[in-house]
């Protein structure tokens, strides 16, 4: 593209290059952070970078407006947007808090942006938005929705019908109102471009015939994740006409498959020699997992975390043969013994997530995992860098051992199911254990702590966690000092989320400028008061300070507020566009 831009003379030699050359060099820089950096070098680079930027990542949809985004990046093709704060996943944010997609689609359509890809997380999406999206962007290729809600299968039908070049439709853990309609039928017969289709989160029935026809005419289909309404025979047929699949999410299996059906399934699976990733299994008879034995050695990614029907021994029998698995998501029914077997079999393991099968401890069975499993994994899997571990208990000794075994953790999230639980052997807090983790893991970017913790653990975090970007705290700490250690120490902190911890105004207000370097702060059931939040809002006009009220019925009446009243939920974030206008009554923006 020819542009008559006169570059300003400067001492930098690179400015003597034509812009096209500079732009070509920028093409090699993909990371949005790096691109943000190069756009700050000088005005010329800023301009070149603007026009050549195709992918934009917006971590908080209220930090900027769609209009400003489009003005700055008119050649935008791929947009990632995140809406509600993380704790919305745990029902701590009211349903109507915000994060609406529509204004963005509206602005992008009006601005005639050539949008091709849209990735959304925790946004409220409506059928109208999906309809508008499907009609406004001729080259639209990829829609990925994670933890979104507000739409129905009618919206999906619009996307299917109107996006002529659709390659990817990936729906992960969304709340979708399933009208049990014919959205799969809405893909025209001419649509043969699908590469990835994931509708595992849909709860209703699926038109199997339409699905089979669609898969049969999609030779490029690499990833298919169906919902539980797709039974065994249908899955067999699907796999038979798509042996090129790399990523498969299976649906529902009958309890007792006929031997003939089972044999057919095994035959179809054997042909899928490219299969590397397996998930789903939400209603599965254990015997059906065995049908996948022929390809389990090829698997690099295995997600059995929804397979609540599978007992520990079934899981172990399967996972021990998955010798190449790099990413494993599993339920704690695998047990410590199972994790020991994983540790001895799965030497390529990089990311492990162990979810609780009985989160509220209702069934009184003792298959949950403990520190034993974690230590075994840390000892056996040298490539491990990411862990999410829900467990019954943890000891300092175990954490110190894990830190020694695995200094390469980037993400370390430990959730001891019972709040405030101390080390069961020493009855002490877990400060030392987590301290060892942050001290050893110099590259740690994300940390979640749990169990009994005093201010000391935060002293350690502030001292050692130099690369830490995201920290999640619950039921921890003693005084404001704890929070202060973190705010003062962690220079790269971007997201801090705290619940049920005794941090108050002194910590909140100590360094207001810190919040300009962060994306957001969440504090719920802490000790901050309305007065403190108001003071913060006054001193930092570039922050949106949102109070989410317990009183659902409306805003607080200004003349009756008590400044000493504790704030139930506080969410603050930096923004360049000031107070948002779409907040519901239960949210007060100071």
């Amino acid at each position: 593209m020819n542009r008559a831009i006169k570059s300003r003379l400067s001492t930098s030699e690179m400015n003597y290059f034509p812009d096209e050359v500079i732009e070509h060099i920028f093409d090699f820089i993909a990371s949005h952070r790096d691109r943000n950096s190069i756009s700050l070098v000088n005005k010329s680079w800023h301009k070149i970078e603007r026009y050549s930027r195709h992918q934009v990542f917006i971590g908080n949809c209220y930090a900027i407006s769609p209009e400003r985004l489009i003005r700055r990046f008119p050649c935008l093709r791929s947009l990632t947007l995140k809406g509600k704060p993380h704790f919305a996943d745990f029902n701590l944010v009211p349903h109507e808090w915000g994060g609406f997609l529509h204004p963005w689609i509206d602005a992008l359509a009006k601005g005639r942006v050539g949008l091709e890809e849209l990735r959304l997380k925790r946004m409220v999406v409506s059928d109208e938005s999906l309809e508008l999206l499907s009609r406004s962007f001729v080259s639209f290729k990829s829609l990925v929705l994670v933890s979104c809600d507000g739409f129905t299968t009618d919206g999906l039908a619009s996307v299917a019908a109107n996006c002529r070049h659709l390659r990817e439709l990936d729906l992960q853990e969304n709340e979708i109102d399933d009208h049990r309609g014919q959205w799969l039928n809405c893909f025209p017969d001419t649509c043969t471009t699908l590469v990835s289709l994931n509708f595992a989160c849909l709860k209703g029935e699926t038109n199997l015939a339409a699905l089979e026809r669609l898969v049969a005419r999609s030779p490029n289909l690499k990833s298919l994740k169906v919902n539980r309404a797709v039974p065994l025979e249908a899955l067999t047929r699907l796999m038979s006409c798509a042996p090129q699949l790399v990523d498969l999410g299976v649906g529902c299996y009958e309890n007792e498959p006929e031997p003939e059906s089972f044999a057919k399934l095994m035959a179809a699976i054997k042909k899928c020699t490219l299969l590397r990733s397996l998930s789903g299994f939400s209603e599965v008879a254990p015997v059906c997992l065995t049908a996948f034995y022929p390809i389990c050695e090829n698997l690099t990614s295995l997600n059995l975390s929804y397979a609540a029907e599978l007992q520990g021994n079934h899981l172990i029998e399967f996972v021990q043969f998955c010798k190449r698995v790099q990413r494993l998501w599993i339920l704690d029914s695998i047990g410590d013994k199972g994790l020991e077997i994983v540790a001895s079999s799965c030497k390529e393991l990089q990311e492990l997530r162990v979810f609780p099968s009985d989160p509220h401890d209702e069934e009184d069975n003792n298959t949950a995992v403990t520190e034993v499993g974690l230590v075994a994994i840390s000892a056996g899997c040298p490539k491990l860098h990411s862990i999410l571990y829900f467990c019954k208990q943890m000891t300092n000794e175990a954490l110190i051992t894990v830190a020694r075994n695995c200094p390469n953790f980037i993400r370390f999230r430990l959730c001891i199911l019972e709040p405030n639980k101390p080390d069961p052997i020493t009855s002490q807090s877990l400060d030392e254990g987590f301290g060892a983790i942050v001290q050893a893991c110099k590259g740690l970017r994300r940390l979640s702590v749990s169990g009994l913790l005093t201010d000391k653990v935060f002293l350690y975090i502030g001292m050692y966690a130099e690369q830490l970007e995201m920290l999640s705290i619950a039921f921890a700490g003693d005084t404001d000092k704890g929070m202060l250690y973190v705010l003062n120490g962690c220079k790269k902190l971007r997201k801090l989320e705290i619940r049920d911890s005794p941090f108050g105004n002194a910590a909140l207000l100590a360094d207001v400028g810190k919040y300009e370097t962060m994306r957001s702060l969440w504090m719920s059931s802490c000790e901050v008061t309305l007065g403190g939040c108001k003071r913060l809002a006054r001193n930092a006009p570039w922050l949106n300070v949102e109070i989410i009220n317990e009183n659902e019925s409306g805003r607080m009446e200004r003349n009756e507020e008590d400044e000493r009243e504790k704030v139930d939920r506080l969410y603050l974030y930096r923004t360049v566009v000031g107070t948002r206008r779409d907040a519901p009554p239960c949210v007060t923006i100071l």
Binding site: D89, A308, S357, E362, N420, F475, I548, E552
Partner: protein, 244 residues
Amino acid sequence: MLGGSEPELGKTNLLPAESELELRLGLSLGGGAWRERGRILTAKDFPSVGSKRAADSSSHHGPSPPRSSQVVGWPPVGSHRMNSLANKQAMKAEQGEEEGKKKAMKEDDGPKDVSVKMNVQGSGFVKVNKDGVGIGRKVDMRAHSSYQNLAQTLEEMFFGMTGATSMEKVKPLRLLDGSSEFVLTYEDKEGDWMLVGDVPWRMFITSVKRLRIMGTSEASGLATRHQEQKERQRNNPVKLLFKS
């Protein structure tokens, strides 16, 4: 809503004066006759508020730290995953019951036994029965964040898709928009049967003891009976909002 003379929300859980509440709820209904548009109020009318401190303790440093099962949003498992688990636990419990009980179990007898087994302190499981279906199910109230959510789960359970217990072929229930022949009702702590959707979600989950998917003809009788009980429930802000 918070007047100077009214107690603050939070620890005591008192609600605004009845008359204010009634007025607000009335407006949101839109005034149609119940039979034609018997819309059960959904989360849109009562914004669901998730967080609340553990009901019994004023501070988590108190003598008894909250148990995992008593705290909202804990453990931090995504709601999608929790809903999925809850459905399975309900189904498993259901199968356990079928094995353990005699065939001739009346609907009314069931919940008592079940509540001893499943409704332990802190548990969110309540029994759900649908008129015309012999076997009841169980649903975890804590795994849901709104009326919409709950209705969806119930519709799946009784729509017969996974089909272990529901043999009949039924139309989608559409419990919350009044377009079906069924209405969702619940029994509260005081033993009264109410229409689901009257009260804020957060209040509802603390007072619901069991659920019943009722035929609409029976439900209108419920309305009349409830009007008579209104006087006894001065401080209970729950109102029935349809005309009989």
